[in-house]
């Protein structure tokens, strides 16, 4: 054997031997997780207000809603919303089952109501979204109105400006408040 071949044999000794590993750590599935934020962080329900005056009542020009600044605060990678917009963030993730689909729905009552029992159909309120991920639309006054489906892992964030359509004249609310109220509830689920 000449010296060249001896060197090659020596270098081949760097090849790692067979495995003798015995300790094994099995990483099980983690818990799936969904996260939903509507409006301000830290809980609480934001109030969107529409001020309809006698001069513009029922003229068909939508009345833009106003809301506290906190309702559109920045979050994570999402910048603060423009003034009087409401921040929506929906996130879903799961490491056990790939590509699960999450759904965002909203339940709205049939009507806004005044203290005196007068009503305005909830479908007289709509919204304009800053992003097509949650498209612009209007409330249907039903339970479980589907707004968005998306495949996890993903976080969706948009800002919405609510509007009262002002399509007709409604009687003023009760004398004490002159207002109509209604609450909508958003639900994020990942079956």
């Amino acid at each position: 054997m000449n010296r060249v071949s001896a060197m090659l044999v020596g270098l081949s000794g760097l090849v790692i031997m067979h495995s003798a590993s015995a300790v094994t750590i099995i990483i099980a599935d983690g818990a799936p997780q969904i996260y939903l934020r509507i409006g301000q962080t830290g809980g609480g329900t934001n109030l969107v207000s529409f001020a309809v005056t006698g001069a513009n009542a029922g003229n068909g020009t939508p009345i833009l809603g106003t809301v506290a600044v906190a309702a559109g605060a920045a979050s994570g990678g999402f910048a603060a919303c423009p003034a009087n917009h409401v921040r929506f963030i929906a996130q879903a993730r799961d490491n056990a089952t790939l590509n699960r689909v999450a759904s965002l729905t909203v339940t709205s009552p049939a009507n806004l109501t005044s203290a005196g029992g007068r009503t305005i159909p909830f479908n007289q309120i709509d919204w304009v979204s800053t992003d097509a991920e949650i498209p612009s639309g209007s409330f249907l006054g039903i339970a479980g109105q589907l707004l968005l489906t998306f495949t996890e892992p993903r976080a969706v964030g948009v800002c919405k400006r609510f509007r009262f359509l002002n399509a007709q004249v409604y009687a003023a609310g009760a004398a004490a408040t002159f207002r109509y109220d209604g609450t909508v509830n958003y639900t994020l689920s990942m079956p």
């Binding site: 000449n2 010296r3 060249v4 060197m7 020596g10 270098l11 000794g13 760097l14 790692i16 031997m17 067979h18 495995s19 003798a20 590993s21 015995a22 300790v23 094994t24 750590i25 099995i26 990483i27 099980a28 599935d29 983690g30 818990a31 997780q33 996260y35 934020r37 962080t41 979050s75 994570g76 990678g77 999402f78 963030i89 996130q91 993730r93 490491n95 056990a96 790939l98 892992p153 993903r154 976080a155 964030g157």
Partner: protein, 163 residues
Amino acid sequence: MKWPGQTLLMACMAATLGPWQVVVASSLDDSASPRQRVEVKPRWLYQGEDALSPERIGRMVVDVPNLEIRLNTAEFRGKSARIFLSLPQLVPGITAPEGLRAEWRARGAMQAGSIMPGGRTLVFDGLIERAQTVEFFDFTIFIDTRFTQRGIRFEPKFEIEVR
């Protein structure tokens, strides 16, 4: 008998390789370790609004504290050696190397470090004093679910090089 050019070839190889030293790496048997199979459940690394970016949304972490590893070093007792912790390139449940990274802290003589699939990290450099080298590791394993499937198996291997 030399064939034409042999001397030149040898001179070139010697210049390339420099001083020649054979270092043989051998796998160390850790089958005496008391916990052969450890099952752990990961948690999300970022919660709530801290997890909203695509880079963070799939990050999970799992802690494996105080894992006792007993290495059979009888064959190398009294020798100066280096011990490495390594991972194979293909880790079950991991679809890309960036899907897993492990960090550890050792409670004894071994060094802290980190590793990804296909990696090899020095954990000990010194005299092998005992027939069985025992170390307690606190592992923290980070996974990115964008690059994982179910059934992730983290199997650290220990290799020794005697000098």
